[in-house]
Symmetry: C2
Subunit: 290 residues, 2 copies
């Protein structure tokens, strides 16, 4: 961490990282490399807001209430705003001295790909669609650690909307692409079946299904740090958002990369001296041109 401050890490202990200097350049290269990998599927680039209507994510919120972060504003009644402005605003311990808040309708993006399903709602696809997107995601945790576990972090995803066979092929290709990329930049990875961090997992059908029929595999660095994952959602989002492929609910799948964790792995493996860092874009080019 001390070393990384020297190359541009700025840590806000509330759980957010700022970047400047060499580490910012590495983060940008990292994302460019993932974006280049998306060319493997001629993915369309999309840019989404960092917030979305909670009503589109009810199932998610029910499964992950402990991680959800909402966008809250004060009730705009003049007297309510006045009471806030005339009060202490923040307490000595840093807590905001909120007055009445307005009804909350908006959740901060928990995963980059949710916007893709919502954005393609009610589309009828006659061929597989591939989308690449990056977003700032928010997940509340009980503790935070720079680059490893943050309240907000950058997630790059490549998403496939297609038939079950197209989604399967995409996931196999994505794993192979990530493996080859990791080999070229010398960041050793191991794939392992994984489950999402459900609230009350043992009574959640989503968790139980993931245990019986693994739909999530994580790429672990150093045995325990997930740098990314491949995920098969079957027709969950296709059905929920009315997206069809050849008349049936679309099957969706995604590969997701946690950018800050790649920064951790790259600097852990290759040191904090930028001269020792691999050329990420060259590696991604080699993967796609293979």
């Amino acid at each position: 961490m001390k070393d990384l401050t020297r190359v541009g890490l700025r840590w806000d202990p509330c759980g957010h990282a700022g970047l400047t200097g060499p580490l910012l350049a590495l983060a940008d290269d990292c994302d460019l490399a993932f974006r280049r990998l998306a060319d493997r599927w001629h993915a369309t680039e999309e840019r989404h807001p960092s917030a979305m209507p909670a009503s589109a994510l009810a199932t998610h919120l029910r499964s992950f209430p402990h991680q959800a972060t909402f966008a809250a504003a004060l009730d705009p009644a003049d007297a309510n705003l006045g009471e806030f402005a005339d009060g202490p605003v923040t307490a000595p311990n840093g807590t905001v001295a909120l007055t009445r808040i307005a009804p909350v309708t908006t959740v901060l993006t928990p995963a980059a790909c949710y916007h893709v399903y919502a954005g393609h709602a009610r589309e009828h696809l006659s061929e597989a669609r591939y989308v690449s997107t990056r977003n700032t995601c928010f997940r509340r945790e009980s503790r935070y650690e720079p680059l490893l576990r943050q309240w907000s972090f950058a997630m790059r995803e490549i998403v496939c909307l297609g038939t079950p066979a197209e989604a399967d092929a995409f996931l196999a290709q994505a794993r192979a692409a990530v493996d080859y990329f990791a080999l070229l930049i010398d960041v050793p990875l191991d794939w392992t079946p994984a489950t999402d961090p459900f609230f009350r997992p043992h009574t959640n059908p989503g968790y139980l299904l993931q245990r019986i029929q693994p739909s999530k595999h994580e790429a672990l660095y150093g045995g325990s740090l997930a740098l990314g994952s491949v995920n098969l959602h079957h027709d969950h989002f296709g059905t929920a958002f009315g997206i069809t492929r050849d008349g049936a609910p679309a099957t969706t799948a995604c590969v997701a990369f946690g950018v800050e964790r790649w920064l951790y792995a790259l600097t852990d493996r290759h040191g904090s001296d930028p001269d020792g860092w691999p050329d990420l874009l060259a590696a991604a080019n080699q993967v796609v041109d293979r």
Copy 2:
């Protein structure tokens, strides 16, 4: 708006815009052009979180409580999360059926440059520092309109921390750079003194000061749409964050660009056909190389 959907605008009526296709490319070019303008001052690039501790922004929150958006999470007590998960999660009108929320400590970034002052707190500068940064900013409004007035939007800023004379020179150079850039891309602008949208302006010393001694000038397109602004903060942030320049509190100044509003102006002026759009990066190069 209909035309812009065709070139990649995706509007979430909660006040957020998504971008894809030609409009996404234009937004990226726009930001690259502003970033290129920052080379005029050899500005250092910084990337900041989209959230910050509210305690660092108490004065701002007191002046703009109506615009503030907070990051709120549920109280993590198991029973509280369970009550939420077992409840309706969202009501038919889209409101989240929140249970008890945890103490709020975090505000979503209201202006990109605030992170710069906080990030350089207690620094003693022996020469002027120039920083360029872009962030997603959140400002709650009473109504939203695509590209024109959004709850979240992209803001690019170039910030100067220096002596009063350095800040003055920077602002004059910034205005000239924006003027020349706007001329080259044929987006006519007029500068006008402006005030920030203070809560209860007539009793706010900040507003009264801005009226007496204009410290904010906006670049208006079409007579009323502010595409950007130049702002002189005197030693407000230098004093608040303990930043000094030659032993005295630093004077700070910034030029800010609202990226989505530039998209509006560019497409309003040059049409929605990408073939008619100007080469923004070439124009920025010409400004910097002059």
